[in-house]
């Protein structure tokens, strides 16, 4: 495998300032019966270089939260701070990878051109763009597929193209919304390891949204557990498993089992609480 050289990003101005700070973020949608609250109040922070996962029961508003953090949906209350600045929309330095690769890659462009998309409009020289595209594709092991179209690739490969597109801008932070939810179990395991490798090589900060508890614990430095919607943070759990992690060995450790059980019971408890509380929403 070619050694890929990408400089890790410099830590922010003050090292105490987190890369991302989500402060009392709330989100409601207007509907005919008045506003529907999807996210009640979320607080957490992600420091530069960290790998943080957000998990929660299905329907807890994970995707909504992710869209808000990425600046793709306006937030109703609270703040999203990026390096201490209030975020008011999508910004450079933050790349997003969505769950549904087949609908987030553009079928009319080749793999190479899809990856080059976020590099356009930046006044970069042609050669620089070409190099960066090749570099990102090499990182996800798809340099050979550059000239193909997304629909000529398997699901796992398409998601790797989407990851490469995220990496092409050398993002300070990569936001991923259940990126591996629509691929089979084996592809998923290899994509997880690929992501850890890329993360280690680039030093990019990762915010990873998933409903899969094992995946969250396996990948992360920290797991933020959300309640059933309208969601709040029920726990912010450090994951002190050794790195590099291994699909077999890491998952066999006692600590992994404990963390997994811990997160699982938190998720289940929050689900039970809401289903018994009789809140009509």
């Amino acid at each position: 495998m070619n050694p890929v050289t990408i400089q890790p990003h410099q830590p922010g101005p003050g090292t105490d300032t987190p890369m991302l700070a989500v402060q009392e973020l709330g989100k409601s949608y207007p509907s005919r019966k008045g506003d529907v609250l999807a996210v009640r109040s979320i607080d957490f922070a992600v420091h530069a270089g960290q790998f943080v996962s957000v998990v929660g029961p299905s329907g807890c508003g994970k995707t909504t939260l992710m869209m808000c953090i990425a600046g793709l949906l306006p937030i109703t209350t609270g703040n999203v701070m990026f390096r201490g600045e209030r975020m008011s929309g999508p910004r450079d330095g933050v790349a997003v990878v969505f769950q549904d690769y087949s609908r987030s890659l553009f079928p009319w462009l080749t793999v190479e051109k899809n990856v080059a998309l976020p590099l356009r409009d930046r006044g970069l020289p042609r050669t620089e763009i070409r190099d960066r595209v090749r570099e990102s594709l090499e990182m996800v092991g798809l340099a050979h597929a550059a000239a193909l179209h997304p629909w000529q690739l398997s699901g796992g490969m398409q998601q790797r193209v989407a990851i490469a597109r995220g990496l092409a801008v050398r993002p300070e932070m990569l936001i991923m919304d259940e990126p591996f939810a629509s691929v089979d179990a084996q592809t998923r395991a290899s994509l997880e390891d690929l992501l850890l490798k890329v993360w280690a090589e680039t030093g990019t900060t990762v915010l990873f949204v998933t409903h899969d508890i094992d995946e969250a614990v396996y990948l992360s430095d920290r797991v933020v557990v959300l309640s059933q919607g309208p969601s709040v943070v029920v726990e912010d759990l450090p994951v002190e498993l050794d790195r590099p992690r291994d699909q077999i060995a890491t998952k066999q450790t006692a600590l992994f089992g404990e963390l997994r059980e811990n997160v699982y019971s938190l998720v289940m408890a929050s689900q039970r609480r809401t289903s018994l509380s009789g809140d009509p929403h």
Binding site: A70, S104, W108, L153, S154, M157, S190, D193, Q247
Partner: protein
């Protein structure tokens, strides 16, 4: 857990042999090519035709033998007057296609893009396209006489709706996630329009044009059969009045071939210009 035994440097997964994942070129390399089936269908048609006439199920006065018809078709194909009339028909077809596209596509894109226009306009569109263009034949003859203008105006009416609707739907069906992807890269309204909305509407627009091309030909021919003064249709009616069924059928046969050529021509252009449309259809979307 033996099913997740994945070793460390992760290797590329091979493209899955799913119907959606295989390049189209590879899929076409089957044991029997498509055109062979098409040819078999046409051959069968001729055999049935021959049998129907030979057994006397239909008398040779009403339906001539295939061989005789083919001979007449051959004669027509080298007949300069006939070819001029074909050119007249195609000219009317082309004018209708150009005019309907020039108005229908931009209007459809606009109506589809602005949600304020979409609902009000779609009710008008559905009402409009329910009226067969033949209903306007008397008016068209009154307004434009029996010339090309009349044929073209009827055809424009008939094909304006499918072209408009497909452009509207194409824009309307733009994948929201693709728009979100564009926005996450910092694209504004103009870039989203040119880089996401238009390319994703293109396959639908192409479908509209393909449907319109068949319809336009049918309407132009109908107008010719019903009274226009030029075009292939008038040749057919002339031979009908001269009691020459062999030439009438030869004309019909050639018209069929013309329609087929247009259809396959459009299909080919569609595959070359908007290949992603086909890929999306085949992956079941």
């Amino acid at each position: 857990m033996s099913d997740v035994r994945v070793s460390h440097p992760v290797k590329a997964d091979v493209p899955a042999p799913s119907p959606s994942g295989v390049p189209t070129a590879a899929r076409r390399r089957g044991p029997t090519p498509d055109w062979a089936y098409g040819l078999a269908g046409i051959a069968t048609m001729f055999v049935v035709w021959e049998l129907v006439v030979r057994t006397g199920a239909v008398s040779a006065d009403s339906l001539p033998y295939p061989a005789a018809t083919m001979r007449r078709a051959g004669e027509l194909l080298v007949d300069a007057t006939f070819l001029t009339e074909v050119a007249q028909t195609l000219w009317a077809w082309l004018l209708a296609m150009l005019a309907a596209s020039a108005v229908g596509i931009p209007l459809g894109l606009t109506l589809g893009y602005f949600s304020a226009f979409y609902r009000p306009s779609s009710s008008v569109v559905h009402a409009g396209r329910s009226i067969p263009s033949s209903a306007f034949l008397p008016i068209a003859i009154l307004l434009f006489g029996l010339g090309t203008q009349m044929k073209v105006s009827l055809a424009i009416y008939a094909i304006f709706w499918p072209i408009l609707l497909n452009a509207m739907y194409g824009v309307r069906d733009t994948e929201p996630l693709m728009l979100a992807t564009g926005r996450s890269m910092g694209w504004g309204r103009t870039r989203l329009l040119t880089r996401v909305v238009l390319p994703s509407a293109a396959p639908s627009i192409a479908t509209g044009l393909r449907v319109a091309s068949s319809t336009a030909l049918i309407v132009v021919l109908s107008a010719e059969l019903l009274g226009a003064t030029s075009g292939v249709g008038t040749v057919i009616t002339t031979y009908q009045q001269a009691q020459r069924p062999d030439f009438v059928y030869a004309g019909i046969l050639l018209v069929g071939l013309l329609g087929m050529a247009l259809y396959y021509g459009f299909n080919l252009v569609e595959r070359l210009v908007v290949p992603w449309g086909q890929a999306q259809r085949e992956s079941g979307r």
